[in-house]
Subunit: 148 residues, 2 copies
């Protein structure tokens, strides 16, 4: 799944975020028939937003859609989703969450599984490296983003 267009788009978004001086986490929402509905990256720094995590930005950038658009959808994200993003995936009933890595941060994977979602963790080296660098260089920003 490292080669899925959705995952490649999510990693690209994370890099965009890093390039903008932000939190390097990206996401892509992909419909069951493989169409990328929306992509996004964390916008805490860029927009001063506490809610535009990567997954939320991907949902927002997908626009206002009927419930049917999310049926069977996959949320690709470079990092294990926090409680907010986990809840958003549950609300919109995405079928599957594909996660770049969960070594840097373990989010709501257990809740996702309990709510019937398919959770795939890729343990992707590039995602781990991006987060490791970021957490080393900007620990205050990272702590702020996960409300520590």
């Amino acid at each position: 799944m490292d080669k899925d267009p959705g995952f490649i788009a999510a990693v690209e978004e994370a890099k965009n975020g890093a390039g903008e001086g932000g939190v390097p986490i990206g996401a892509a929402l992909v419909s069951k028939d493989g169409k990328i509905l929306g992509v996004g990256h964390n916008m805490r720094v860029q927009k001063g937003s506490p809610i535009l995590h990567a997954e939320m930005a991907a949902l927002e950038n997908s626009g206002r859609l009927p419930a049917s658009a999310y049926e069977g959808a996959t949320m690709y994200t470079t990092l294990s989703p926090c409680d907010m993003c986990t809840g958003a995936c549950i609300l919109y009933k995405v079928k599957r969450v594909v996660i770049g890595e969960n070594k840097s941060f373990m989010g709501g994977e257990e809740l996702l599984i309990n709510r019937g979602k398919e959770v795939v963790v890729l343990d992707n080296h590039e995602c781990r490296e991006m987060m490791a660098r970021f957490m080393k260089e900007k620990p205050e920003l990272w702590n702020e983003d996960i409300a520590v």
Copy 2:
């Protein structure tokens, strides 16, 4: 708590949302020392946003804050929070969630309680009436907002 400034602000926001032709749900985030950090209402119609539920809008309008700003905070909302908004309250570690009513919709109250939040349900008549009218007049919009 029906007389708390935070709750009054949340109801006012819900009315603003209704006046704009939107989903009539409002919220206010109040710090432990009683300062209103931000208010907001559902913006699905107004901004075509799937993520700006009332509680999310209140968080967004509070701006980028350190974790300490949320310590001991209360989220007032006119309706029981959906899974996304529940997750956001957990992420930001608000202490208490005060809910106008949960007859129209029961959200993630159990999860909030399991995560140590104080949950207060006011069963407020005005909130119930607003939602009942809305759900009767615009059932498609309501279903879309909760992804049915």
